[in-house]
């Protein structure tokens, strides 16, 4: 295999929220929900994104405008090209239909978990955002339970608060989550307490994407190749999870 970007044409762009857009392009090959691709803008930078849509041979990435790279990406038009390589990493493991599951997405973490929600049958789906205008994919997943920190729509509170209530009523056997690491860590603790299996997607600064540079370390696990999705047993042996992260320079910072 050759780890180099291939140029693809942006064939559609969808405004999801004032700060979030989805870019669609042709994509063929096997993809497990939760895996990521590296997206390259020549002479600018390259960043990891999970595919948030797959429909036949068209895939999409859902991008929050946050820094220089995403600002440049947001300025792209239909017909412009971006480079992609991958997919990389280990995605979510789908559960049998008979398993009662709950999928939790927080903020832009929704992008990672949307394709799982497409494929996982018989799952409760919770989305949390700070406020109503930041909620994603409301028409795509009509049954989704919504929470907002400010109570502007749905449950007032965090996804963790809602999940805690739902665990009391339903007998979830498996919980999937992607979102801010503090949220993921609380869900991991909740699952440990209630003996529920879980898989969460962990984010770090990615450089190579194929397990050689060591930049995305989390307690000896390489997010890019050993993850980004880890289960409860993996996370138990990752003391850095929820606590510290390695930045672009290799400095360790508290989360």
């Amino acid at each position: 295999m050759i780890e180099q970007p291939q140029m693809v044409k942006i064939c559609n762009i969808k405004d999801e929220t004032p700060n979030v857009k989805t870019f669609f392009f042709e994509f063929t090959g096997h993809y497990d929900p939760g895996q990521f691709i590296m997206v390259w803008i020549p002479l600018n930078d390259e960043k990891p994104f999970t595919l948030s849509y797959i429909n036949g041979n068209i895939a999409g990435i859902t991008v929050l405008r946050r820094g220089d790279f995403t600002k440049t990406l947001h300025a792209k038009k239909i017909g412009d090209q971006i480079g992609i390589r991958g997919p990389y990493g280990k995605g979510y493991g789908l559960s049998e239909k008979s398993v009662t599951t709950c999928i939790v997405g927080g903020g832009i973490g929704m992008a990672s978990i949307a394709c799982l929600a497409d494929r996982q049958e018989n799952a409760t789906f919770i989305q949390g955002a700070r406020t109503v205008t930041e909620l994603l994919f409301r028409h795509r997943f009509k049954e989704m339970k919504l929470c907002t920190d400010d109570g502007s729509l749905g449950y007032k509170g965090t996804t963790v608060d809602l999940l805690r209530e739902l665990i009391g009523k339903h007998n979830y056997q498996k919980i999937y989550a992607c979102g801010p690491e503090k949220m993921l860590h609380k869900i991991f603790e909740l699952c440990s307490e209630h003996h529920i299996d879980c898989e969460v997607s962990v984010e770090r600064y990615i450089k190579c994407g194929f397990g050689i540079c060591g930049q995305c370390d989390c307690s000896g696990q390489r997010i890019c190749i050993d993850g980004p999705v880890f289960n409860k047993e993996d996370l138990r042996n990752m003391p850095d999870f929820g606590k510290t992260a390695i930045t672009k320079s290799g400095s360790r910072v508290s989360l």
Partner: protein, 310 residues
């Protein structure tokens, strides 16, 4: 492993450091955290090297920083590292790693090298590696003239005066006569030569976007493409100096390792091989070396060091 293979010794003594086998994690690969060093040691490495540390924190080059092609890999990470003070807190209790740990230090001037070496002197490293040969980071290595015999002598002498640890000097294959650099390092008090750093730099252009792929446009070339050059360099250096040579460049199998050792390497570095064969490349290479030694009537790896020479 059968009984016969169990009797074959891969252990080597490198500058009075005992390595359970000659495989060494090359600098710049996975050496960012203590936890990763431990994992590499658990996967069979005889010694591990940290990612190079400078006086101040560095973000390095923009992505893409590492890409591969048909014959190997190109990288221009640009010496991202947290700086010497943060590195000191990251790399602690090194005796629990399970293999000797080598510090790699970089600087933009002689005083920086000395300062970083002193900054890491109490951390329990088994040796200090000094690369004077990076082909793709302004201010360091080849791009700041550190690869000449004169600069090599000056930097290594200065660090030698300040530390009792073994010093490995990592040199570039991009010179017409590599032995002059190796000799300058030896004369300055180096304990071993690490040969070689990546070659080039090289460039890969994406023809659809019509732009170089690497963020820094150019990057050091490693992997299979580098191996014959590295073997020749080690062969030449082994003849020219008395201190040991650590052979690095394109080694991903036991046969590659045996070849490098026959050229004169006392130990062998593995970098790109972590990509081609996985993080357990170290134990794989060791098993393959043992197999070859057994099939060829040897029971000690040290018996074939430099055997390719007349």
């Amino acid at each position: 492993m059968n009984g016969k293979m169990a009797g074959i010794s891969l252990s080597v003594n490198l500058c009075n450091i005992r390595l359970s086998n000659p495989t060494v994690l090359a600098s710049g690969i996975l050496g960012t955290t203590r936890a990763l060093l431990k994992r590499v040691a658990d996967n069979g490495a005889g010694a591990v090297t940290i990612k190079s540390v400078s006086k101040e924190q560095r973000e390095g080059h923009k992505n893409p920083t590492v890409i591969t092609y048909e014959a190997g890999m190109l990288n221009a990470v640009g010496y991202s590292n947290p700086g010497v003070d943060a590195a000191r807190s990251e790399f602690y209790n090194l005796e629990d790693i399970g293999a000797p740990v080598i510090a790699s230090i970089i600087g933009t001037c002689t005083d920086d090298f000395v300062e970083v070496a002193e900054g890491l002197s109490e951390s329990g490293f088994s040796a200090i590696e000094i690369p004077l040969s990076c082909p793709h980071t302004p201010g360091f290595g080849l791009l700041s003239g550190q690869g000449t015999p004169e600069a090599t002598y000056e930097i290594i002498s200065a660090v030698r005066r300040k530390t009792n640890l073994p010093i490995f000097v990592k040199i570039s294959p991009n010179v017409p006569e590599i032995t002059t650099i190796a000799k300058a390092a030896e004369d300055a008090g180096a304990s071993a030569i690490t040969a070689v750093n990546s070659m080039g730099p090289g460039m890969i252009i994406n023809i659809e976007s019509k732009k170089p792929v690497l963020g820094f446009k150019v990057g050091g070339v490693t992997g299979d493409a580098l191996r014959p050059i590295a073997v020749r360099c080690v062969y030449d250096i082994y003849k020219a100096i008395k201190i040991p040579v650590i052979g690095v460049g394109g080694i991903s199998t036991g046969r590659h390792a045996i070849e490098m050792i026959m050229a004169g390497a006392a130990a062998i570095g593995i970098g790109t091989g972590v990509y081609t064969r996985g993080i357990d490349v170290f134990s794989k290479v060791c098993a393959e070396m043992k197999q070859w030694l057994m099939e060829n009537g040897y029971n000690n790896i040290n018996d074939i060091v430099g055997i390719a020479h007349d």
